[in-house]
Amino acid sequence: MRLTDLSTKTSRWFDPNAPLSDIVISSRIRLARNLAGKKFITKCSISEKKEILQSLKEVILSLKSLGDIFFIDIEHGSTIERDLLIERQLISRNLASGSGPRGAVIAQNELFAAQINEEDHLRLSVLAPGLNVEKCWQRINEIDDSIGEKVEYAFSSKYGFLTACPTNLGTGIRVSVMMHLPALKMTDQLKKLFDAARDMNLTIRGLFGEGTEAIGDFFQISNQVTLGISETRIVEDFQTILIPKIVEYERIARDKLLVQEINLLDDKIARALALLKSAKLISSHEAMFLLSNLRMGINMGRVKEISIETINELFLLTQPAHLQMNKGQTLNPEQRDILRAETLRAKLN
């Protein structure tokens, strides 16, 4: 398996046929685990990290139920390779920018990833397209059980799974759902959503872009509390209450736009399409912003000639590391903006 095989295609988590996928892009569950009797990463020597990496890598690669999987050495990988994996949501920025022996075991279908020596010894994650939190839990729970039979996890009866940061303590579970909420943004209702989320102990982060800035109205919603509430309860809340409610609000906002702001809406979509079809230089920020508007236009039935698959593909192909990997060379920002514009024109015209 080579990373260039990944860079030319769309991730499986962008599946337009998945449940509620016009609004919910994907569901993900992450479990944080550490080995019993070993220091946490901050206090590990290089040789201790090496030992942890080796033993966890062997255990995970030996699990037959995972299908086709491969190991990626992050310590010795190139910056473009690391960035590509970040753009595809397979590893965290934290793992990419860390130090010492570390790596990831990734499933060929990109729906499973195990990061070794990130903030904790092991960070398992399972993804599914659309709203599929329960399915993710079933899958990751089985994988976690199989690993837990072969290694002993750091666990206390009082605090549960022991993690390097107390914010992950207990279940070590982080459920994250990636949502596209352009109509809530257009109708100025994001603040309401953020306030409600905070009251319910949820975190909302912008998906693309640095830090908290949300480019293109993609948001990742996740649980904050990991102690004193069971995994199944968190999963059930996300699957049956929280996310369906946000989907409902986004739909109401979309209907409202269709009735009250149809000209504004159509103008926004038409401008996005016109720019994407003809720009000669386009930054990743601008492309993301315009593709988001176009995605909304297609999902609301305002644009018929472009498929949602094309848009999903372009979200990935126009990202910096993808452009460079597919071109086979390092490009400076201006060269990337030219190539990005070319890619967009070729796919949309």
Partner: protein, 167 residues
């Protein structure tokens, strides 16, 4: 809602301050908030939130006596000083070594929860049922303590009965 200072623009910054148990709310527009030096971030990251909690904990002066002479974990060499800087612990045993210092931080970041509920790995020292039962007892005891503290005797009696009913 209007900004309380300029009485013109819509208030988008809502500040809640609790000093000595007294709560005050201030509602300002973005421009006035900046003038007043109230800077906001739309979302705090968990680590930032944790660091600010740790710092707040430090300022309350509730630091136990032993910590002043600098408790050090004999397994990994971690100190509370170091934890405050990076918000990451050094080994699983730190949860025992620094239990009294961490309790407050754990409660604040975990919505006042203190005891694990949920999955228990197959390879543990104690059988799964025993762990879950023990956790249930601990959780009830904690809630009972809290109920007594806030003088909610009705709830306390209920919790005491639940504790008695356990094997």
């Amino acid at each position: 809602m209007q900004c309380e200072i300029c009485k013109n623009k819509t208030a988008t910054v809502h500040l809640t301050e609790i000093v000595d148990g007294h709560r005050t709310e201030t509602h300002l527009c973005q421009a006035c908030a900046q003038k007043e030096g109230v800077t906001i971030k739309s979302q705090l990251s968990l680590n930032e939130l944790l660091s600010s909690l740790i710092a707040a904990h430090q300022q309350t002066g509730e630091t136990p006596a032993q910590e002043k002479i600098g408790k050090v974990c004999s397994d990994c060499g971690m100190t509370m000083e170091e934890f405050r800087k990076q918000a990451l612990l050094g080994c699983p045993d730190d949860y025992n070594v620094f239990e009294s210092d961490l309790r407050d931080i754990i409660e604040k970041t975990q919505d006042n929860n203190t005891t694990h509920v949920g999955k228990v790995p197959s390879r543990t020292a104690k059988p799964v049922e025993q762990v879950q039962e023990q956790n249930q007892i601990e959780d009830l005891k904690r809630r009972l303590d809290q109920a007594v503290k806030v003088e909610d005797y009705e709830l306390a009696a209920k919790l005491r009965d639940q504790l008695k009913a356990l094997p």
